[in-house]
Structures are given as structure tokens and as C-alpha cells.
Symmetry: C2
Subunit: 318 residues, 2 copies
């Protein structure tokens, strides 16, 4: 069975909403009752599945694992002025030495500092298998924004450039190391969770998700949860110059990468038309790339024609 | 480097206490600030390290992983009347099929129900390595009880029988299946977190820990955190008839198993002498097995003579 089918099955088994948890399984975070809603999310990364030690330093691995988890808090509109905490569970393989562990821990610490997050607990276990890290992150929001909530006619908005991480991964694998490639490689190795943008969008967005698996796939999740469809004009997708430059050298189509490669950890939100003026004021760097419509599914166009990228995103078990 | 050395090192690196977390790394749970203190703990189990599919069904694996995590909440005195929530991250290996996943999930669900816990979120990823589960559990306590806090002259108390799980593991490995062995095997495969006892002890205990690694080793952790030593009379350690019976058939010394095998998930607490009468009233099944003293370290006796079991507990990386 594939990942998303399993999430559905488990949500059914465990109950989609539970006592003390106004939002349960299936969104970026679970929302727990309290004086103010508490957001909590868990994320595991495994060597050989999510990262490759050949192109990531131990510090990169630590940084990225935490940033990816924090991105789920951003996607729910966590307020960076409230405490943000993380717990880390490390599974270390037989060939993992103390220096590498110390570097990995330094990467975790640096990422935590950069995001105003405190690492408050954890667990370390040995494994005969690959290196793996599980991060649990906890934050708070006055008004959590979920995947559900988009209405027909809302604008589809992204918070920043797409494709840099996907092109960066290809550049790292190819050993391309000019300025453009290095910038893209850094986007892949050291992503940032968009906590500040997420908090600003929390006041405006009808629904939100982070772009982890791929733009079209993640928009599909948001649309499915909201019961709407969406049309996206990929010519509007923001792609920076370094990404275009490195993609050209690698023979990649940057728009295809932006549409399907994932790992950008920008936020994808839907915003009602009446709130677009306020969006432009508070998030001038946000870009409208499409709109929701009745029905289901996500349709993409380029130059006014239907377009299907080679992949829409990543799913485990496929 | 070994597990406990790493925990020390990571605690130093990440900061032992952080903003919004009155208790940080190194106790059974992290304690987060809020209207009432929030307890949170993370625990990973890995096939081939923490469990063996040869003697555990997938449902057992799921049950045990969650119970072990919930035991950390019990050890901090979590109040079962408050919400208790869990998030689960599953790493599934290539040979793991849908039936096994469904059984494992059912074991998680049954354990959650048995403990009044709601599973509110999670993550599933594929791995080329062994099956692994990470559980994050969240609870609340009016007054969290920590490993630190024991004073010289406190009684050392355990909440229930010891050694059943260690003997049960040996019985499962040996294929012994009479009534005694089955009872011990169930203690190993389906432990229970002592949430009710932990909540009662929260009003009385000066310090508390759960017995996961081994009685003497876990008491050592409590003593070290509290800056005291302790003497334990192992003749007083509660060991039930089934454990003695199965141990005899296996040629095991049940007292040695009770002292060092761990996995019992009973609670180990220190209680001031003035509170012992109240302890006997509210926890009549609790047993005093020793007392704290000045200095450091844990000394055990049997029949009045110093005794050192073959092992004091389990540590990863040793």
C-alpha cells in the first residue's frame, strides 16, 4: 500500500478527531486543545530515502531534518512569538562515529537557533539499519490554518521561489559547483521553514500547506481536503535566476522542476479575493499562481495550454 | 560513544533548559510551560534492537511501542484525567506487507484505548532498513515529578512486581509456553504504563522514574539526578509466582532478572518518611525496597550481603 492510502487507513483506525484534539490525523499538524491551540507534528527522515550522505554533511542532515519538521508548523500558521520546541530521536547506524554525531547535532542546534526553536528533549537508539532522525515539533497559533477551508474562487498563492531545491539536488548529484549551482544546493541542503510568512498568512489564508512533496501534489492535498479543484498557470510560478541558470547547465526544465520536485518548503495558501489587497500589503513577495474552482483535481497550464509535468510530487511506497 | 554519554553531550549542546521549557533534556519527559505544565516525550523502537518479529506479533510491536512511551508520562506523574495524546512515525521496511501494517496499527489503537490515549497524528516513511516506530506522547500534570528531588533518608518504592518481563523474554526465546511462561510473555509483549499509580505518586513522591532499562540502573539515574546514593535490599523486591515458576524452569535467578533485566515499566519513586503512611493508604500494592543515603551510587544486598547482578540494565551502544 502507498503512503497516502496508509494515512487514510490509519486515520480511520485511530479516529480522525480525538478528545482534546480539534484537528487530528491528516493535516500538517495535529491541533491540541489548550488555553491557545497547540500545534504538534512529527517527521522522520531516513538515509537512502530522504537524504544521501554523499551530498549532505552530517550538519546538513541535522539542519534539514529540523527545518522540514518546522515547515509543518509554518504551514499551520504557528506564531513565532510563542515558544517553538522540538524533540529529536536519533537512530544511529554501526558506521556512524562520534565526530559525525557531533556535527549532526551542531546542524540541529544551528537550525533551531535560526528558527527561534528550543530543542527540549529526545532519544538516541542504535540501529542495524540506516541513519534516521525523527523530529517532533510543538508550537502555538491563535488561529491554526488547515488544509481544509479553501472556497471556490480563492486565489492560489505561493510565498517564494520554487524549483531551487530540486535543481540543487540535481546539481549536487552531478557535481556542478558554480555560483548558481551552489545557491541551489544550499536551498536543498539548508531549507528554511517560512514561519514568519506562515504567521502573516494565518490572518488571511482560507487554507494552507507547505510545499514538501511537490507543488501540484501538495495543492492536490489542499484541494482534496477543501473539496475544491484548482487551476494553476505555471508561467506565473516564481523561479529565481540561479535556478534557471543551474537548470540550463543541467539540461533541466526549471518549470517542470518547480511543478513537481518538491523540497522547496515555501508555503502554498488559498486567499479569498477580498483579502488580496491586504495580502499584497503584508506579503509583497507572495505570488498568485492560480485559483480554485468547483470540482476536484489540479490542472496546470503553460503558455495557455494544458501541461502535465513528468512528476507531480513524491510519495513513499510508490 | 555510548547512549548516556551522548545524552549528556547533546544536553550541553542544545541547552539543558530552554525558554518555555522548565525541564529540558535528560528526564523522562520534557516539561513545557502553559496554563498547566505539559509533558512530552519521544521514544523510538527498532527491529533487531528493541524487538524481534520472531517472538512478537505486529500487534504486539505496536502495543509495546506506545506503552513504553506512555510509561515516560506515568514516570512524570501525568494526570490520566487530562488529555493524553500520541503521534506515531512508522518506518516500514521492504518486506513489511499491508496485513502486518494493519495488525501493527490495531495494536497501537488497542494500547491507546487501554490507556485512555488518543492518536492524533503521525508520519509514515519507507526505509531500506529495519522496521522502526517513533512515538511522541503528550500529557499534563498539575505537578510534574522528575528524576531529581530525592532527599537523603527517603524510602525507595516500586509500584508492582519486577522480573516478569525479563523472564517472559527468555521464555519466548526458549519457546517455553506453560501458564507461567505465557503470563510472563504477556508482560513482555503487552506492558502497561502505570498512569494511575504515577498520578497517585505525583502527590507523594520526591522523585520518580520508570523501570525501563533495569531496576538498579534506573535507580542510579534517579540518584545521580538527585545527588544522593541508595541502598536496596533485593530480598524485598516484589516478584510474582508466575515469574518465579517460569524462571525456575528456565534455570534463571528471578532476583537477578528483577534487578537488571528492565522492561517491567513499573514505577520507581522516592518518598519521604513522613509520607509513607499516606503511601500505604493510597498505594497499598507499592513496596519499599530500600532507602536513599548521602553519597552516590546504588548498592544492592541479598540476605544481608552485598550483591551485584550479572547486569544492572541496558544501554545502547555498549
Amino acid at each position: 500500500m502507498r503512503e497516502f492510502a496508509w494515512i487514510e487507513k490509519l486515520a480511520g483506525l485511530f479516529g480522525r478527531q480525538a478528545a482534546g484534539a480539534p484537528v487530528g490525523i491528516g493535516d500538517d499538524c495535529a491541533v491540541l486543545d489548550g488555553a491557545a491551540p497547540t500545534l504538534v507534528s512529527i517527521d522522520t527522515v531516513v538515509e537512502g530515502v530522504h537524504f544521501d550522505r554523499g551530498i549532505m554533511s552530517p550538519a546538513d542532515i541535522g539542519w534539514r531534518a529540523l527545518a522540514v519538521a518546522l515547515s509543518d508548523l509554518a504551514a499551520c500558521g504557528a506564531d513565532p512569538r510563542r515558544s517553538i520546541q522540538a524533540l529529536v530521536s536519533l537512530q544511529w547506524p554501526p558506521d556512524w562515529n562520534d565526530d559525525a554525531m557531533a556535527e549532526l547535532a551542531a546542524g540541529l542546534r544551528d537550525c533551531a537557533s535560526a528558527h527561534g526553536c528550543a530543542i527540549v528533549g529526545g532519544d538516541t537508539v542504535s540501529t542495524p539499519g540506516p541513519l534516521a532522525l525523527t523530529l517532533t515539533v510543538i508550537g502555538g497559533a491563535a488561529r491554526p490554518v488547515l488544509r481544509r477551508g479553501a472556497r471556490v474562487g480563492d486565489a492560489v498563492v505561493v510565498t517564494g521561489p520554487l524549483g531551487a531545491s530540486g535543481v540543487g539536488l540535481a546539481a549536487l548529484r552531478a557535481g556542478l559547483a558554480d555560483d548558481d549551482a551552489r545557491a541551489c544546493g544550499a536551498a536543498y541542503r539548508r531549507p528554511r521553514a517560512q514561519l514568519a510568512d506562515g504567521a502573516r498568512l494565518a490572518a488571511l489564508a482560507s487554507a494552507m500547506i507547505d510545499i514538501s512533496d511537490g507543488l501540484l501534489q501538495d495543492l492536490g492535498h489542499l484541494c482534496e481536503a477543501s473539496g475544491v479543484g484548482a487551476d494553476v498557470d505555471l508561467d506565473l510560478a516564481p523561479i529565481d535566476e540561479a535556478t534557471r541558470g543551474a537548470a540550463a547547465k543541467l539540461g533541466l526544465d526549471p518549470v517542470a522542476v518547480a511543478a513537481g520536485a518538491g523540497d522547496d518548503y515555501q508555503l502554498l495558501a488559498t486567499v479569498a479575493p477580498r483579502d488580496l489587497a491586504e495580502l499584497r500589503r503584508t506579503l509583497p513577495h507572495a505570488t498568485v499562481i492560480g485559483a480554485t474552482r468547483p470540482g476536484a483535481g489540479v490542472a496546470a497550464t503553460r503558455a495557455g495550454r494544458p501541461y502535465e509535468p513528468p512528476q507531480r510530487g513524491y510519495e513513499h511506497g510508490t
